[in-house]
């Protein structure tokens, strides 16, 4: 079988990037960025996820149908969460929770 063999160097670099991003998430969370805190946290998590999926899980070299599965899976999840938020965020007439 001739599968693309990723060099050890690439794997180690991805590992290093993941470790650094973990520390960045932690340190940035200590700053008060208001509503941006969650945006930064999720963005970093998505970058880490992309690294793991494309390099560690070999999605980069996978067949197109596999790539489609990967892409679809996360797209459906994003749609699910967006519709949840669309519902709750639009309930301006209903008092929910305590204000910041």
């Amino acid at each position: 079988m001739k599968h693309q063999v990723t060099p050890v160097r690439t794997y180690v670099l991805v590992w290093l990037a993941l470790m650094i991003l973990t520390s960045v998430t932690w340190q940035v969370a200590l700053l008060d960025l208001g509503s941006l805190n969650i945006v930064v946290a999720v963005t970093i998590a998505v970058i880490k996820m992309t690294l793991v999926i494309s390099i560690f899980m070999h999605a980069r070299h996978a067949e197109s149908v596999t790539k489609l599965y990967v892409f679809a899976g996360f797209l459906w999840l994003v749609i699910l969460l967006s519709f949840f938020l669309m519902d709750y965020l639009s309930r301006g007439w209903q008092v929910v929770g305590k204000p910041y």
């Binding site: 063999v5 590992w15 973990t22 932690w26 008060d32 999720v42 596999t66 969460l81 929770g97």
Partner: protein, 204 residues
């Protein structure tokens, strides 16, 4: 053989999509309750062991590296390195579960397990905060169950690789367990900031 490998990989991804839906429901519940009770959710970070959470994140990332290197060792027919990497991955998995168990013990001692004995010093949020701890135990609990299953799969891989079953010509099981292992790592990558760091800026 090539086709078998492709269909096995695709099948595993199909299974992982059902896993995304499984965890997705809990992430959905989290999204709604965090939107409804932002201040209560922020107050819970004070009761989390952020250092251990971060250490566990790094332990899992290390285990993902050794898992990826295990697959690579199989691809290049390095039997010795394959076994070593699989054993290291399993050890990292047990370290993670050990730390997680210690954290659960802490929560138990501090009465932070949702239910009749739940106690929360921050009176203003006593009820709403309980929702986060429920989500915390549900999400990290299901994640831990996945880790235990992964440890079982890893043990099987170690036994089979010791018998020399895997080579560059046949390593689909290693690749597929690898996909599962990395997926479980990704779930934790999201759980760490969402459960441990919500209100970290309040407690510096």
């Amino acid at each position: 053989m090539e086709q078998q490998f492709s269909s096995a990989t695709l099948g595993m991804w199909a299974f992982l999509l059902t896993e995304i839906m499984f965890f997705g429901g809990m992430f959905g519940a989290y999204t709604i309750y965090r939107y409804m009770y932002p201040a209560a959710f922020e107050s819970t970070t004070h009761y989390m062991n952020v250092t251990l959470g971060a250490v566990n994140t790094m332990v899992l990332i290390c285990s993902s590296l050794t898992m990826a290197l295990a697959v690579r060792s199989a691809q290049v027919d390095n039997q010795k390195l394959l076994r070593l990497m699989l054993v290291l991955t399993l050890i990292f998995g047990f370290v993670f579960l050990g730390i997680k168990g210690y954290e659960y013990h802490e929560k138990f001692v501090e009465h932070l397990i949702p239910g009749p004995n739940f106690e929360y010093n921050n009176r203003a949020f006593a009820h709403e905060a309980q929702i986060l701890f429920f989500l915390y135990f549900a999400m990290t609990g299901f994640h831990a169950i996945h880790m235990i299953v992964g440890a079982g799969l890893m043990t099987n891989l170690i036994v089979q690789s010791a018998r020399g079953r895997y080579s560059s010509a046949y390593y689909a099981p290693v690749e597929i367990v690898g996909l599962y292992w990395h997926f479980v790592d990704i779930v934790w990558i999201f759980l760490f900031p969402l459960l441990y760091l919500i209100g970290a800026h309040l407690h510096t």
